[in-house]
Amino acid sequence: MTPLERSAVYGGFASAFRKADGGTDVLDDTLVPPPPEGASKAFMAAFDPSVSKTAVSLHASAHTERDQTDLYQELIRWYDHFGLKRRDGGELPDHVSVMLEFLQFLTAQEAANAGDAAAVGSLHKAQGDFIERQVLPLVEAMSGKLETDAERYQVLPQGLRAFLEEELTALTQ
């Protein structure tokens, strides 16, 4: 996959974890099935702990013993280092979609700097560290706790995890 294609996949997953029917225009149907009937209800049951005791939080702070202030600060530092800041009204920095948007950005930047080996090297290291330190632990935690009958939401974390693992493999090679 090209960096832009990878960026699109990150964007697709970010959208899929933000909205019940997100990412359908980007992610392959065989990987992420179309939204079920009553998608909003099923999405909330799967991913919104405020309404469902069995839901899995999409926020990293819910899956770690780490202090929230410390976690937020590290994430903000990641984003800030690469010139990004939270949009007013945006999701919190530890939401999986925000992390994936960040990777969407880094891969887009990689595409734009394809001829600059040092820049690409820098971006690869950043992507690898970010996936390993931030995103993958969250997705692994989510995958282990998910209870939902909706196939789309059941496979979504698994699909993302597979993609991240492949990304990590590629980035460390």
């Binding site: 832009l4 949009r87 979609s97 930047q109």
Partner: protein, 972 residues
């Protein structure tokens, strides 16, 4: 799955792959476009430390506080630290000034709950979007809807109900977190304009201070914290400030440096008892007996302050022994029924002063037992209240009371000596006593200790009841600033006040009357309130749990149901809508009745089926939200600018500033209520509905509701800050400092108690550099009290009180509510949450067991084969619940203790403590048709009780069927 994927499989065939970037959650720090930034060369990154090379900076710091009803300590100023539109942390502001050189300052202020709100507001239980129940109520199935969808649907149901069934079918369930600021003003203005009903929840919460109300005609009285420095004896009685008033508690400790003795009267060895100089242990609910023993010692030991008692109290007034009624001027001669008679030592029978407490040349005898000529001839036997009180106190010897309370005689004597020898005696206000069935009697008995000795109205001395202090511009806002400053609660105070003052009433009486008027229809210009406790009993079905009350409570003259009917039929207590008129829409705002109402299981069984719509406005999932049709997500306290009522203990108006934008699609309360009027107006116009006539017979304009709500566009939905400022500007007691300055500083000292019905009862002067002392207008300035006798009144000649032998304070043993079971289930507020707000907070739950538990003493546990951590079934004749046990040496035999406010969904097994707490109404609290025993703002209503609840506990192997399958982060 992983093994079958190729990297290409992830991307849909034909998916657009473009270099143009649109990221919903990011912008660039530089202000350039995201695409442009992505097209630029990245910064160097080699390893994680690279992101830590720059010094961390905050975007801004603002003053904030928490719009929670933590009551006595309300509130604490915090510095709120913001970066990237997120609140990262908060820090105690700790710059409250020292009032004068003699007293300690209040710093630091703030507890662990406030210090962690930045975490709480982002926790998983936060509601971020409007939610609509997508299955049966309580099914746990929700769908996200837009604000327009939610508000249109709610508006349509609202229009259906008010046009077809009446405006009084719409109920605003107002919980303890109302702020008397802009948020609350938005709700109240909506309610007023539409003539819907708001519930006064104070007594339902068990905070009604009925005894103070009966005695002073008023519950509002407390001091500022610095005044404790002048007390030489401080009683912690019916409170637990080390747990519940953390920012205040250090002031009591500091008072000890000045020689103050702290005495804690409590059944259990509570955290406050541990810190006291003397702990007076007693059986739960026997406090009145202890107080009467002290009162007896004061009277029979010759310690009565006769000058104070003769002037300030009803003790010299005469009572007819034939009827038990106070002897009135009309009985004795031509005169008024609201003037009362004393025996002057020189002149004989004389009318007690009424317009002022000043006795002038009168020298009333205290101890009177004689006959007096009455109008029309003949004589009647009369006795003074003091004489009757002596008889009443006679049985309460130390030895007898020791048997009633279980307190050793020597401890009672020591306690009495401390109370009697104190130069300045004070107490720490608490509401535990209100939650006993006979809590009113206990409070009346306690007040005797202060009144008999004149321990009031001077530095360090006085009885504290209900702590409340509020701005007085709120009513102006709610009534739309009609008639300028002269309009309060729909009344032209200019003329009416002068009329009342000319008749001998006081401003306190006048403004309290305006509060009373809010419960009855006097013209349709008022917000309409009704007693929540009565509402839940009658409309909510809680009264059905009290069918066995005559078995539990000795001396009941009639079944509770009949007593309530009698009161309603006679209009002693108003109830809106009236019995038999079912509520149809409930807006739960700052309220969580399914968590808080004793016997709340009846609400879902009886009330909810009557409802066409249940709407919860909240920022977090609650037990009540789970049963709602809609949840409207409210902004959290760092996401909006507003201010909130406080207490005389900390007489500073506190402001929270909008530090960040509301999370997700949540909105400020003021926005929500204003937008609701916009949608009602829109749908009314679309449906061709113009106006209706309300149950008050007044016109309610529905097609112009938004225009009226906004006062013709003056305060639009996004104007929370402006509305909050307008309330301050209209307040006589806060407008001395501009709103902008108040926001910047975060707190502003009140310069007077103002004229709000919610505060005027404090009746004292807030002076620069001096602690606040309540009731000085009465004690120093001799203004009469707002009671029947215009004095501190211990004798209540209302028929209900006479029938139940409660005309004077008396000790009645706590009745076995729930049946004849051996353990008394008491309770109290917890250290780790204020109501339910932090109850499922992960940080707070790490500081305790993190799941519901009931505390039991070592012997009671051993007798039942129960070990620490065991699961038990708690049960009585009314219901049962399952819970874990904490075995503790701090609990006396026969007492078990539940910290309150666990959400229903946090109980892993069946039920909750509400299920064993039937809370029957105390019939004397149904009184009305009386000069001062009538419903008022936060007072004069039937209370809710749970402290008398009797249960048995049985060990079980584990929880039975789990609680409802939805909810937030259950820490269990």
């Amino acid at each position: 799955m992983t093994s079958t994927l190729t990297r290409r499989n992830f991307l849909k065939s034909g998916a657009a792959v473009t270099a143009a970037l649109a990221l919903p959650d990011f912008v660039t720090s530089s202000g350039q476009s995201l695409t442009a930034l992505a097209g630029s060369r990245p910064p160097d990154y080699q390893k994680i430390v690279d992101i830590y090379r720059n010094k961390w900076t905050w975007d801004k710091t603002v003053r904030g506080t928490h719009m929670i009803n933590c009551w006595y300590q309300a509130h604490c100023a915090f510095d709120v630290y913001v970066r990237d539109g997120i609140v990262f942390r908060e820090e105690q502001a700790a710059d409250y000034p020292q009032l004068n050189d003699d007293v300690p300052d209040m710093n630091p202020r703030g507890c662990q709950k406030g210090c962690s709100f930045s975490k709480r507001m982002y926790e998983e239980s936060r509601i971020r979007y409007p939610l609509k129940q997508a299955g049966e109520r309580g099914s746990g199935q929700w769908e996200r809807v837009t604000w327009d969808e939610a508000l249109d649907d709610i508006a349509d149901t609202f229009l259906d109900v008010v046009t077809q069934e009446g405006t009084d079918r719409v109920i605003w369930d107002m919980g303890p977190d109302i702020n008397v600021g802009a948020a609350n003003a938005g709700q109240a203005r909506f309610a007023q304009l539409t003539h819907s009903i708001s519930l006064d929840s104070n007594s339902s919460n068990g905070d009604g201070h009925r005894g103070a109300f009966e005695t002073f005609g008023n519950i509002y009285m407390d001091r500022s914290l610095e005044d404790y420095f002048y007390s030489d004896v401080i009683l912690i009685w019916g409170s637990n400030p080390i747990v519940t008033s953390i920012p205040n508690a250090h002031m009591f400790t500091e008072a000890r440096y000045n020689g103050s003795k702290i005495v804690c009267i409590a059944p259990d060895y509570s955290p406050s008892a541990i810190k006291a100089d003397l702990w007076v242990p007693l059986a739960p609910g026997t406090d009145a007996a202890l107080a009467l023993a002290v009162a007896r010692e004061i009277v029979f030991g010759g310690h009565v302050n006769e000058e104070f008692v003769a002037e300030q109290t009803d003790l010299p007034l005469l009572v007819r022994t034939d009827t038990g009624k106070l002897l009135t001027e009309k009985d004795a001669k031509q005169g008024r029924t609201d003037r009362f008679i004393v025996i002057d030592k020189v002149r004989g029978p004389s009318t007690a002063p009424a317009k002022s407490l000043k006795l002038g040349i009168l020298e009333p005898q205290l101890d009177v037992d004689t006959e007096i000529e009455v109008l029309g001839g003949g004589k009647v036997a009369v006795r003074s209240v003091y004489s009757l009180l002596k008889d009443r106190l006679e049985p309460y010897t130390f030895e007898a009371v020791s048997k009633m309370t279980g307190t050793p005689v020597k401890v009672i004597k020591k306690f009495a000596r401390l109370c009697i020898n104190a130069k300045a005696l004070s107490n720490v206000s608490g509401s535990s006593m209100n939650k006993y069935f006979h809590g009113n009697l206990t409070e009346r008995a306690m007040i005797l200790i202060w009144a008999l000795q004149g321990q009031m109205g001077r530095p360090g001395a006085g009885y504290s009841a209900f702590a409340f202090l509020a701005n007085d511009g709120w009513e102006d806002y709610v009534s739309g600033f009609r008639n300028g400053d002269r309009m309060k609660f729909g009344t032209d105070i200019g003329l009416d006040l002068l009329t009342d003052l000319a008749a001998g009433d006081t401003a306190e009486m006048f403004f309290k009357k305006l509060g009373n008027n809010s419960f009855v229809d006097i013209g349709g210009n008022l917000p309409i309130w009704t007693s929540a406790a009565l509402f839940w009993q009658v409309h909510g079905g809680v009264m059905e749990l009290a069918e066995q009350a005559d078995k539990w409570v000795p001396g009941l003259k009639k079944p509770v149901r009949e007593a309530v009917k009698e009161s309603l039929d006679n209009k002693w207590l108003p109830l809106q809508p009236p019995a038999g008129t079912d509520p149809r829409i409930m807006f739960h705002y700052c309220a969580n009745p399914l968590r808080s109402v004793r016997g709340s299981q009846k609400l879902t069984e009886v009330l909810w089926p009557k409802l066409k719509l249940s709407v919860v406005v909240d920022f977090r999932m609650s037990s009540t939200a789970q049963m709602a049709d809609y949840i409207l997500p409210a902004a959290a306290w760092y996401e909006v600018t507003d201010h909130k009522w406080v207490t005389p203990l900390v007489p500073y108006n506190h402001v929270t500033n909008k530090a960040v934008e509301p999370l997700g699609e949540s909105k400020p309360d003021f926005w929500i209520f204003t937008m609701l009027t916009k949608h009602v107006q829109k749908r009314a116009r679309e449906r061709g509905i113009s106006s209706i006539v309300s149950h008050l017979g007044k016109t309610v304009k529905l097609d112009n509701l938004y225009e009226d709500m906004t006062m013709g566009g003056r305060f639009l939905e996004d104007d929370t800050d402006k509305a909050a400022g307008a309330i301050i500007d209209a307040s006589s007691n806060l407008s001395h400092v501009s709103w902008e300055e108040q926001k910047e500083k975060g707190y502003t000292r009140y310069n007077s108690i103002g004229i709000s019905p919610l505060a005027i009862g404090n009746a004292g002067k807030l002076e620069e550099g001096k602690p606040f002392i309540p009731l000085t207008y009465h004690i120093h300035d001799k203004l009469p009290y707002p009671t029947q006798t215009r004095r501190i009144q211990f004798y209540l000649d209302n028929d209900l009180y006479l029938e139940h032998d409660e005309a004077l304070p008396v000790y009645k043993a706590p009745p076995p509510i729930g049946g004849d079971y051996p353990l008394m289930m008491t309770g109290g507020h917890t250290r780790w949450s204020v109501h339910g707000v932090w109850r499922d907070n992960r940080l707070m739950n790490r500081l305790n067991r993190g799941q519901p538990y009931i505390m039991i003493g070592i012997k009671d546990a051993a007798d039942r084969g129960i070990a620490d951590g065991d699961w038990v079934r708690c049960h009585n004749d009314v219901g049962e619940f399952e819970i874990r046990v904490k075995v503790t040496h701090a609990m006396r035999p026969g007492q078990v203790f539940m910290y309150h406010a666990w959400e229903n969904y946090q109980f892993a097994g069946t039920g909750s403590p509400r299920e064993v707490s039937p809370s029957p109404i105390n019939p004397v609290e149904l009184a009305g048709d009386h000069a001062h025993l009538k419903v008022g703002m936060l007072e004069g209503q039937p209370n809710s009780f749970d402290r008398d609840t009797r249960i048995e506990i049985t060990r079980i192997s584990g929880p039975q069927a789990g609680a409802a399958g939805q909810g937030s982060n259950d820490a269990a």
